[in-house]
């Protein structure tokens, strides 16, 4: 079992499925799946529309450990209906976060002096285009409930987002991801609100050519998001690297983790607005102009640069570090 866990660690996060990611993000042999395939909680809506179903409705939820912390894990499966949030999928996601802060409340009630490094944490591997259109009302509601849960976690349970799957994290879930305490991405990860295809459809190919993947990544990809400060840690594409990144965040005090948030306080909003004002000033025509503005004169070379060289040399926007 543990040798198997070892193999998972070296595996590409991008290539792995949601379950392998969930198992590999927890400590060896500690992951227990909740509401898994055995429960057969598939979508009640998709069959009526003649669409395929999945026993886990496209999300793996469960509990494991990270060091001395209980780790509540959700991992979306991008290959099933684009990782979209339907009713069951959403309920599983909302409830795994709810379980985390309920566990926190219980544990603190029992042991008021519980050291920080033993308190629960949440990690969500986002791989989703957002709401599942076939069951959009329930899916949207789940987005709102999830935001609520994040609020309930505030001051108690750190919520960490991970983005490294092929689908990326788009649509309403782009907002949800932005509301987490910290975001870890690989260069293959993508984060945004409106998906590239939708922008092209609405605004035309001249505005945004979704088939130009280099452009798509310059606007939504891990490296760009790291420079912008929309992601806190950029890691290699292995399960181990994501796990180490998670370890880095969870080794911090809650106060330190809270400082990683990109939004959520007046100061943060002011800082974002200052950056925005500065960017309007330079009127960028491409992400590369923003990178140059951030202090990277050879902006074009950043795209193909190896990750460790990138992390060593890149300059981020002022409010990013």
């Amino acid at each position: 079992m543990s040798s198997d866990w070892e193999t998972l660690q070296n595996r590409s996060f991008l290539e792995s499925n949601a379950r392998a990611r969930a198992i590999g993000l927890a400590d060896p042999g500690t992951f227990t799946e909740l509401a898994g395939p055995r429960c057969r909680l598939s979508s009640p809506h998709l069959p009526l529309l003649g669409e395929a179903v999945e026993f886990d409705d496209g999300i793996v939820t469960g509990v494991g450990r990270h060091g001395s912390r209980p780790l509540f894990i959700a991992s979306q499966e991008g290959r099933f209906v684009g990782g979209s949030v339907g009713e069951v999928h959403g309920a599983k996601l909302v409830n795994i976060v709810r379980m985390a802060h309920q566990a926190y409340d219980r544990m603190l009630a029992e042991t008021p002096e519980l050291p920080e490094e033993r308190r629960p944490a949440v990690v969500i591997s986002f791989e989703t285009g957002g709401v599942r259109l076939h069951e959009a009302n329930a899916g949207l509601l789940a987005h709102a409930e999830l935001m609520d849960q994040f609020q309930d976690c505030k001051g108690k349970v750190p919520v960490i987002g991970i983005i490294g799957g092929r689908v990326g994290c788009f649509g309403g879930m782009g907002f949800v991801a932005a509301a987490t305490d910290a975001i870890i991405m690989s260069p293959f990860g993508r984060l945004g609100l409106t998906g590239p295809e939708v922008i092209e459809e609405e605004m035309g190919k001249d505005e945004f050519d979704a088939s130009d993947r280099a452009l798509v990544y310059r606007v939504t990809g891990g490296k760009h998001k790291y420079i912008m400060g929309d992601c806190n840690l950029l890691v290699e594409d292995t399960i181990a690297a994501f796990r180490q990144g998670l370890g880095k965040v969870l080794a911090m005090s809650y106060a330190e983790i809270d400082r990683l948030r990109r939004i959520g306080s007046l100061d943060k909003v002011k800082a974002q607005l200052r950056t925005l004002a500065a960017l309007v000033e330079i009127a960028p025509r491409d992400s590369r102009d923003v990178w140059t503005f951030a202090g990277n004169p050879a902006a074009e070379t950043l795209v193909d640069m190896k990750l460790d060289d990138f992390l060593r040399t890149v300059k981020r926007l002022e409010n990013a570090s």
């Binding site: 499925n17 395939p37 669409e51 395929a52």
Partner: protein, 112 residues
């Protein structure tokens, strides 16, 4: 009105059966052109009951032939199999079923 997801049920018996050596196994992802399967032990007097949920119509006979071959090749017995399909071709179905069995042989420890 869109057509509904179809559910097919097959009751098959291998020529030289042996019982499924596990309680429960889940394998696969319902990606496009792919499928997932649950295999469970169930006393069925040596038979295998297979339930297939698929959006595809017109291939019921192909499903029967593919599953018959699998059951005969593996000699599976006393098992309940549930498949969620999304346009998997016969080769993918066969591959995933065999991979699921291999996973059982390895103690359910592989995560592909």
């Amino acid at each position: 009105m869109a057509k509904k997801l179809r559910e097919l049920t097959f009751e098959l018996k291998a020529e030289s059966p042996s019982a499924l050596p596990t309680d429960f196994l889940h394998y696969g992802v319902v990606g496009s052109g792919d499928m997932e399967v649950i295999m469970e032990h169930q006393e069925l007097a040596g038979a295998v009951r297979i339930i297939v949920r698929t959006p595809v119509a017109g291939f019921d006979e192909v499903w029967r032939r593919v599953l018959e071959r699998f059951v005969n090749q593996t000699g599976m017995a006393d098992a309940r199999i549930e498949i969620n399909d999304n346009n998997a071709t016969p080769v993918v179905v066969t591959l995933r079923l065999h991979q699921a069995l291999a996973e059982i042989a390895e103690g359910g420890a592989r995560h592909v």
